[in-house]
Symmetry: C2
Subunit: 204 residues, 2 copies
């Protein structure tokens, strides 16, 4: 029988990997379709808003990676126990997205002068301020990002970390032991460990 | 008795207004604290991740505007009726945030050359492609963004529209009748109409 879920994304971790982590965590079998960059121009117009990842389930198509993760989190019981807990977990994931957005605005800037202008403030002020606060949050939550226990926000962070590090050209958790603990908690989960071992090796 | 909810944000619509729309829609009384820009440098270090809006409820503090909206949507019954509907509504809100992000990357670009480079592709390709697909989505959903009926994604869009238009320096829904219908559906809701009439008049 074909897997119930079909994920379509590039052959990289980045925005697809949190979805792959959640499916793996829950033992949900999935077809892991990986689009090569040379196939993308032909495929792009067929994708919702010309973007990936896309998740197919039960004849329906979903897009927007963070929303897909939140949906899967409910299926695998990594969401909150009440509305306020969900808010705290959602906010933690949005904070990871803010981090991605700040790094992306630098990494993907095509104007060399604008990129150079951005570099100093990003690495000397913006990132340290941001990571310090996120590290404090992880400390308060005992090595997790929210609610003092494992939630989908932790998988979201750990799955995205190699991509964030790639954009920063360094391990952004280097000075932040509690953020390293979040990552280690996730990577030590047996289902995640097994997935990371068997997943295709990619440059990002 | 003091209102149960306290919202702290700048004296503008932007990211605070979807929260104000949702509180107003649900008839939830709230303290609408508006920080003037000259107060901000002193206040910024006290805010989670140095950002606003912030919502206080029951002695707890929440940040991240989209997450706050999703929480309030559950309180005022503008969320989905099942997990997949929630995914569709969440994805619609994320798409509005993508639109905001694309416009913001242009509007807030401080490097004049980079800003000029971005302008052509944004207004001749990126925005029209994006808005055309969002308009088709609104048509398919009968003048709403998801599930064929009113959800928090519609309030999110309508509340944010003046800010998006301000960044684009034009009405981005001008060529898109179904997106105008989404906005009109929301602004015609009696509680929203009453809020828009009584809210402080601001430049953005």
């Amino acid at each position: 029988m074909a897997p119930a879920y079909k994920l379509t994304y590039f052959n990289v971790t980045a925005l697809g990997e949190p979805i792959r982590f959640l499916l793996s965590y829950g033992g949900l079998d999935f077809e892991d379709v990986r689009v090569e960059f040379e196939q993308w121009p032909a495929l792009k117009p067929t994708m919702p808003f010309g973007q990936m990842p896309v998740l197919e389930f039960n004849g329906k198509v979903a897009h927007q990676s963070t929303s897909i993760c939140r949906y899967l989190a409910k299926q695998v019981k990594l969401n909150g126990q009440n509305d306020w807990e969900d808010l705290e977990i959602d906010a933690a994931a949005d904070t990871v997205n803010d981090l991605r957005s700040k790094l992306g605005a630098y990494h993907y800037e095509s104007n060399a002068a604008a990129k150079a202008e951005r570099e100093g403030p990003l690495f000397s002020e913006v990132l340290p301020n941001f990571l310090k606060k996120l590290d404090e949050q992880a400390q308060k939550n005992k090595g997790f990002l929210a609610c003092g226990r494992l939630s989908w926000a932790d998988l979201f962070f750990a799955a995205m970390l190699p991509y964030l590090n790639n954009m920063a050209k360094k391990d952004i958790t280097g000075d932040y032991p509690n953020l390293r603990a979040v990552n280690e908690h996730v990577l030590a989960l047996p289902a995640i460990k097994a997935w990371v071992e068997k997943r295709p090796k990619t440059s990002v």
